[in-house]
């Protein structure tokens, strides 16, 4: 779930991948700058957060680190549900882990949010002499599947911060606010934030269109939106259908445009 302050965005990011691929090591390198040769396995899940400055806004990544073993697969949806971004990690010295990564990609394509920003991380890039998965193969796979790809090393820190920054930059700045929110949450959010009590569905496009014009920046001028919505507020309440219509519109309008 993602929320927003004036120049501040929160976005949920989930790390998926085979056990021992280095998910926890990546996140610990990124969040705490540390690396343990024998990072203990993750039981259940772990949660971290780290704030990044992107342009003139800050993005707080709320990072879920999950257990890798197939046995715990059934818990994964709990963690990737509502995520704005995912890093799928494999170990470049282990072909099985790359195959497992592909399965995660498939699962997210089926189950995940269509607007999710997904990165593929080939970790343990420092172990060049043990490499089993070439960067070319992984890169080609990433291109085919609309992922962005980097090889990383939690041990040497190579590309670790970069991959998280790249995600923050690619987050669709507006839709991320509401990714994974059920329509009612979205409405509640708007009502609470804008202090709008009642409004008319048909006119909802207007405030968001004005926000969309700012798309070049991450900055979101909530005050302006608030003023506009206040001006638009009418006596009708939104019905569920309208509610859904609104969400569809939001998804369409705020899809990342490359």
């Amino acid at each position: 779930m993602a929320t927003i302050g004036n120049n501040h965005l929160n976005a949920k990011l989930v790390l998926l991948g085979d056990m021992g691929a280095g998910k926890s090591s990546l996140v610990l390198r990124f969040v705490k700058g540390q690396f343990l040769e024998f990072q203990e396995s993750t039981i259940g899940a772990a949660f971290f957060s780290q704030t990044l400055a992107v342009n003139d806004a800050t993005v707080k990544l709320e990072i879920w680190d999950t257990a890798g073993q197939e046995r715990y697969h059934s818990l994964a949806p709990m963690y990737y549900r509502g995520a704005a971004a995912a890093i799928i990690v494999y170990d470049i010295t282990n072909m099985d882990s790359f195959e497992r990564a592909k399965k995660w990609v498939l699962e997210l394509q089926k189950q995940g949010n269509p607007n999710m920003v997904t990165a593929l991380a080939g970790n343990k890039a420092d172990l060049e002499d043990k490499r089993k998965v070439t960067a070319e193969e992984a890169g080609a796979y990433a291109d085919e599947n609309g992922l962005f790809f980097m090889e990383t090393s939690a041990k040497t820190a190579a590309n670790v911060n970069d991959i998280f920054y790249e995600i923050a930059k690619r987050l669709p700045h507006f839709s991320m606010l509401f990714l994974g929110c059920p329509p009612n949450t979205l409405l509640l959010y708007i009502i609470n934030t804008m202090q709008v009590k009642e409004y008319e569905a048909i006119e909802w496009e207007l405030p968001f269109r004005s926000l969309k014009q700012d798309k070049g920046q991450v900055r979101i001028n909530l005050c302006r939106a608030e003023a506009e919505i206040n001006a638009l507020s009418k006596e009708n309440k939104l019905l569920d259908d309208e509610n859904k219509m609104l969400l569809r519109w939001l998804e369409r309008e705020t899809a990342p445009s490359d």
């Binding site: 056990m19 021992g20 024998f38 990072q39 203990e40 396995s41 039981i43 259940g44 899940a45 772990a46 949660f47 971290f48 957060s49 709320e62 879920w64 257990a67 890798g68 073993q69 197939e70 046995r71 715990y72 059934s74 818990l75 709990m78 099985d96």
Partner: protein, 669 residues
């Protein structure tokens, strides 16, 4: 608060006296023929029969009485009867529960429902919780009720349907789950009010509830009440005396307060003789208390239930801030003792090395743990690898047998050649999982540190051998954590393996692919928190955290990641005694959550924040204090607590089926 009413219940002497006067209706006549007009010899027809209908008589989850519920038609009359099963020779009923074995013949007779004519029944209240078993409470015309009957194998709907065919039943207009039998002029109010605790007491005591309410007991009485209800040592009773009337008295915690009363009633009911039981159906109290626990929101208005407190606060009525209760630490269990010493241990053994009083040993370890050098020996008993009644010689013999058995299983995977392994994906993958995990298990402990440490190889060999011993379950992340301290203590490959096997007999279901072992524990935990800390429960509900996944790691590997190495060995030996409860680990969970409840609620933690907070508690929990808190909570919860925990919940022995304990699925490694 409704203190006076609570204290009324403590007035044991009045209560006992009233029993002797024979006040209160009776259906438990010693001669069923006389009481109910039921005659076995005359032609009768069984119109409904259901096996595995169960009552939960005591505080221990394992003690459940299963039996057969029947409706018998004789002439124009219909009778209901419930007869508990006789224990089978091995003490297990067909469900695999160790249910009826612990109960004496006397207890069985006590709970048996001799044929009761439906004309004596006022109403049947149906309970169909979303999770857990359906049960019903049968209320008699006298206003008394039988203990809740749990339909372990379903059949409640069928029961009601059958009833409908034979007697006139009216569904209550006010509550769709109440079915009124033979009670037309008397509206629901009376049947419901008869379920209220104080009112029911008045039925039994033959005095009005008003009288009861006016006889506010003295301060001394309430102390005595505590003395009867709890395991109270001088320290704790001194503690409660000092804090009795302070606003932050933990006893003022609403949930606990309610509980306190109920465990009193239950214990008192149990303590009375079976004679009194038969004469007055004190066991009806059981049903009140259970009903309270199961569905406090809608019933028993006379007692301030947790949920009622909640709704009051919501209505803007000024209530004590629930967060205030935390100001005094919940440390009120027994003070921890020094660990069991070699001398004490020697004194517990007879000349041939049998443990003379295993219960005393378990109790001693529960309160103090074991000195390190004894662990190697004692853990084998706690884990069930050695029998308490075995002799030194028998154990020595067993060890040698088991050693060769271990070597046999180990040789199964050792003999797989590289060429064979190439064509044995499952083996390769499983071996790969273990290799990935053992190198990162407790490497900061000196026993396992350094390059090419042979102990790490031992972990690997034992785990791989286990995955052949229990191929269906295989290897799961977390197992290396469970094995590590066992190997550290045993310092012997085969002995560590068999101890691990014993532990996995109980914890194996934690690792089931469908997560059902974990789900049942997390579910039981949520029920326990609801029982023991209603405000926290309500908070977690509104924060959408009731799946309790933030406690997943605690339960999966028995707090292994939460305490330092020495402490975890202490905690495990305490848990393994199963002294107060097989599920003491769940009370540890509740105790920790209660300790941090103020922070959790005060900071309005959502699921993410809560999980992060819980994970970061690692290494910062005071073990002795938490064990004492958990002890107090466990005693307090009594059988209400046990009733929160479904049978078969790990670490109870899993229910065996023909298809094997662990479902093996194609993808499973």
């Amino acid at each position: 608060m409704h203190e006076p009413e609570f204290h009324d219940l403590s007035d044991d002497s009045d209560y006992a006296a009233s029993q002797q006067q024979g006040l209160g209706g009776s259906v438990f006549g010693s001669d069923p023929g006389m009481t109910s007009g039921f005659n076995e010899r005359e032609g009768s027809e069984v119109v409904y029969s259901k096996d595995n209908v169960t009552i939960h008589p005591t505080q221990y989850g394992s003690e459940r009485i299963s039996g057969r519920l029947r409706l018998v038609k004789q002439g124009p009359s219909l009778f209901m009867t419930w007869v508990p099963y006789k224990p089978s020779p091995d003490g297990a009923d067909f469900l695999g529960n160790n249910s009826n074995s612990a109960l004496s013949e006397k207890d069985r007779n006590l709970y048996t429902i001799t044929p009761v004519p439906l004309s004596d029944v006022r109403s049947v209240r149906r309970h169909t919780p979303t999770l857990g078993w359906q049960y019903m409470i049968v209320v008699l015309s006298s206003g008394l009720a039988f203990p809740p009957l749990y339909f372990y194998s379903g059949g409640l709907r069928e029961f009601l349907a059958t009833l409908k065919q034979h007697v006139h039943i009216v569904r209550s207009a006010d509550d769709a789950n109440v079915f009124l039998v033979n009670d037309f002029q008397d509206p629901l109010q009376r049947s419901l009010s008869s379920l209220e605790l104080p009112r029911a007491l008045s039925v039994v005591n033959g005095v009005s509830s008003k009288d009861l309410a006016s006889s506010v007991p003295s301060f001394e009485n309430s102390e005595r009440l505590n003395g009867r209800t709890y395991y109270v040592n001088p320290n704790t009773s001194e503690y409660s005396r000092r804090h009795k009337h302070k606003s932050h008295d933990p006893a003022r915690d609403i949930s606990l307060q309610v509980l306190e009363k109920f465990s009193l009633v239950t214990k008192f009911a149990r303590d009375t003789t079976s004679h009194i039981f038969r004469e007055s159906q004190s066991n009806s109290f059981d049903s009140y208390e259970r009903k309270q626990q199961k569905q406090s929101p809608e019933l028993i208005p006379a007692i301030s239930t947790p949920s009622e407190e909640q709704s009051h606060s919501n209505d803007g009525v000024v209530e004590p801030d629930p967060l205030e209760f935390d100001k005094i630490n919940l440390v009120w269990g027994n003070p921890r003792q020094p660990p069991l010493s070699s001398d004490e241990w020697a004194a517990l053994l007879d000349s041939e090395g049998r443990i003379m009083d295993s219960n005393a040993l378990r109790k001693r370890i529960f309160y103090g743990g074991v000195e390190f050098n004894l662990r190697k020996e004692v853990w084998k008993f706690l884990l069930g690898y050695h029998a308490y009644e075995s002799t030194d010689a028998e154990r020595e013999y067993l060890a040698s047998i088991k050693k060769s058995e271990y070597e046999t299983i180990k040789s199964q995977w050792q003999s797989i050649s590289p060429a064979q392994a190439k064509r044995f994906t499952k083996f390769r993958e499983r071996k790969g999982l273990i290799e990935k995990d053992v190198v990162r298990t407790d490497r900061s402990i000196s026993y396992f540190d350094g390059d090419d440490n042979p102990k790490v190889a031992l972990l690997h060999d034992i785990l791989l051998t286990y995955s052949f011993y229990n191929f269906d379950l295989g290897y799961c992340q977390g197992m290396s954590d469970l094995l590590s301290p066992i190997l550290f203590v045993m310092e012997d490959e085969s002995e560590a393996f068999w101890c691990f096997v014993s532990l996995m007999e109980r914890l194996g279901p934690n690792f089931n692919r469908d997560q059902n072992g974990m789900h049942s524990q997390l579910f039981a935990l949520s029920k326990l928190v609801e029982l023991l800390d209603a405000p926290l429960h309500n908070y977690l509900r509104q924060a959408d955290c009731l799946n309790y996944f933030f406690c997943f790691r605690w339960i999966l590997i028995q707090f292994k990641r939460e305490f330092e190495y020495e402490k975890i060995m202490r905690l495990w030996e305490v848990l393994w005694t199963h002294y107060l409860s097989e599920h003491f680990h769940l009370y540890i969970c509740v105790a920790i959550l209660k300790k941090y409840r103020k922070k959790i609620m005060g900071e309005q933690m959502d699921f993410d924040t809560l999980l992060k907070f819980i994970n970061e508690l690692s290494g910062r929990i005071d073990l002795d204090g938490i064990i004492r808190d958990a002890e107090a909570l466990c005693i307090c919860a009594g059988e209400n607590g046990a009733a929160c925990i479904p049978p078969g919940t790990p670490p109870s022995m899993p229910i065996e089926t023909d298809t094997g304990l662990y479902s093996s699925q194609p993808e499973d490694l």
